[in-house]
Amino acid sequence: MRTYLVRRLVTAVPALVGTSLVLFVILALAPGDPFGELATNPNVPPEVRMNLRKQFGLDDPIAVRYVRWLGSMVKGEWGFSFVSRVDVDRLILQRLPTTLFVLGSAQLLGLLIALPVGIYSARRPYSLFDQAATTFAFVGFSLPTFFTGLLFILLFSIYLDWLPFIYRADLQVTGLRWVWASFQQGIMPIAVLGLFQGAALTRFVRSSVLEVIRLDYVSTARAKGLTEGVTLLKHVVRNALIPVVTLIALQIPQIFTGAVVTEQIFRVPGIGSLLIASILANDTPVIMAITFVFSALVIVFNLVADVLYGWLDPRISFR
């Protein structure tokens, strides 16, 4: 298992290099010169501008600039926010836990819906339950998160007045009331994201279980007298989950899309809403850093999925 982990870590390096290359190329191709304003200012002689360019290494070969840029990105030296006047890494670290909390809970909720519904549908394909579940799944992943979010606000905050529609990081209460208030404000963003994830996953769990359940070894398990529950959980589901884990890993980049949108709708103070705010305020260092963090998170979560994969299917980690 340990060599497997090391091998996965090593394969994450080219992924990081590739992603950072794409980001750097986008940045390098973008129009605009950081010292462009100085060029039009008659009080700044051209020599000063040239010296500044030299000092910041803007005229170095592109490979040198890339290595230097990647080095400072990895070390967390992301610069200084133009708007809020603090270091970008502090700004992001403040908001990252909220994003991870919402994302993690939503993914958990999605799995809690998709696994039972998908497995039950696959046990009785084309039954009434299966058809209802399939239809709901279609509706679920055809409803864009921004519309579901607005519908939830309309229903639960405006008509029913049950839930607050603004997420606050600085709740004024403590103890059990804090837990209750966090639950109340977190439930809508998490539900919007979780239902969307759950709907997409349900169909994959169903088809994956359906493929495994008719294999011979499952009949063998039944024939030797195992209860239906044991057959299903230990023999069918464990194998059926392997492609599902791959799929979750593949979908991670898309989960961030939903995260940005829900954070924006419910004003969750995470890095997604920070990204939008920075774009509207032309705060380039923050935009760059957040995109980098999102890309790094994709790689980290892919690693986690790989480890899970090795645990579900020992054959993979021994290879």
């Binding site: 405006i158 961030f256 990204l275 995109t291």
Partner: protein, 313 residues
């Protein structure tokens, strides 16, 4: 060229016979399977109605999209304004119909870009193999692991001014959005086409074409691609839905088309701060997105049943 075309006529590739009676029934079979899928048929009908409405609607319903009338602002549906009005008293039906044109156009054009790029990469990788295949697949994996929306936002943020200065605000936004969505959505198709190529390349009819000396390009265009087209059509239909959602998301965040172009996402963006007293403003464009995406997804599912019968989904 004359020689090779004469040669290839002797090769009985299933799709080359498209004009003949036997493979005619291949498509007729597919149509029959599609018709049996009730949800796909309803999806196709709803979709056709939507397309007809946004294409022909503005010719029939001749209310301008930008006529400001403060006396009628934020009104719910009425006989004068069937879908109500927004905060400037502009007619929402006209705006939803106009926005639908843009949203559907973005969906179709972005899909075409993504599908062509994906097919090209997949075909090259599958046909040439070796180093080309390796490099192409690594690049595909790389693009698959990019966080879509953040990259999309970054590119739009960095390039929008340049492109708008070059092509004008509307065309510029359209080209930028469509181009970036295409660039972010070609990877699944590339993988699909490559997999199809790897299996089709070894089939007897391709082997015989190769043995008869049909040049490589002709093998691909005439014999392999037509037989790989089924799964690509399925992916294309689902890509239209994904592109519509991505464009609406961008507009919903206020970063898509300029404010005076009412795409469906933009309408929702404007409506979201008035939810408590004008819910109709958000409900109609939102429902339009939902219905379009849902019916495209159903059609895609029906096409999958019809064209890709091995799949048990």
């Amino acid at each position: 060229m004359a020689v090779s075309s004469g040669v290839s006529d002797a090769v009985a590739s299933p799709a080359v016979l498209a004009g003949g009676s036997r493979s005619d029934s291949l498509w007729r079979d597919a149509a029959r399977r599609f018709r049996r899928h009730r949800l796909a048929i309803s999806g196709a009908l709803v979709l056709a109605a939507m397309v007809l409405a946004v294409v022909a609607g503005p010719f029939v319903y001749r209310v301008p999209i930008d006529e400001i009338d403060f006396r009628a602002k934020l009104k719910g549906p009425s006989s004068q304004h069937p879908l109500g009005t927004d905060d400037l008293g502009q007619d929402l039906l006209a705006r939803v119909l106009y926005g639908g044109r843009i949203s559907l156009a973005v969906g179709v054009v972005a899909m075409l870009i993504g599908i062509s790029a994906g097919t090209m990469v997949g075909a090259l990788a599958g046909q040439l193999g070796g180093t080309v295949d390796n490099v192409a697949m690594r690049v595909t994996d790389l693009f698959l692991s990019l966080p879509q929306l953040p990259i999309f936002l970054l590119v739009v943020y960095l390039f929008r001014d340049r492109i708008k200065a070059f092509l004008g605000p509307e065309v510029g936004a359209f080209v930028l959005i469509v181009g970036v969505i295409g660039c972010l959505r070609w990877m699944p198709v590339a993988r699909l086409v490559r997999a199809q190529f790897l299996s089709l390349r070894e089939k007897e009819f391709v082997e015989s074409a190769r043995a008869l000396g049909v040049p490589s390009v002709r093998q691909v265009v005439r014999h392999i691609l037509p037989n790989a087209v089924g799964p690509v059509i399925v992916a294309a239909s689902l890509d239209v839905a994904a592109a519509i959602i991505l464009e609406s998301t961008l507009s919903f965040l206020g970063l898509g088309f300029p404010p005076d172009i009412p795409t469906w996402g933009r309408l929702l963006f404007d409506a979201k701060d008035n939810l408590d007293f004008a819910p109709h403003w958000a409900l109609f464009p939102g429902t339009a997105i939902f219905l379009t995406v849902l019916s495209i997804n159903f059609v895609g599912d029906g096409l999958r049943d019809a064209l890709d019968p091995r799949k048990v989904l």
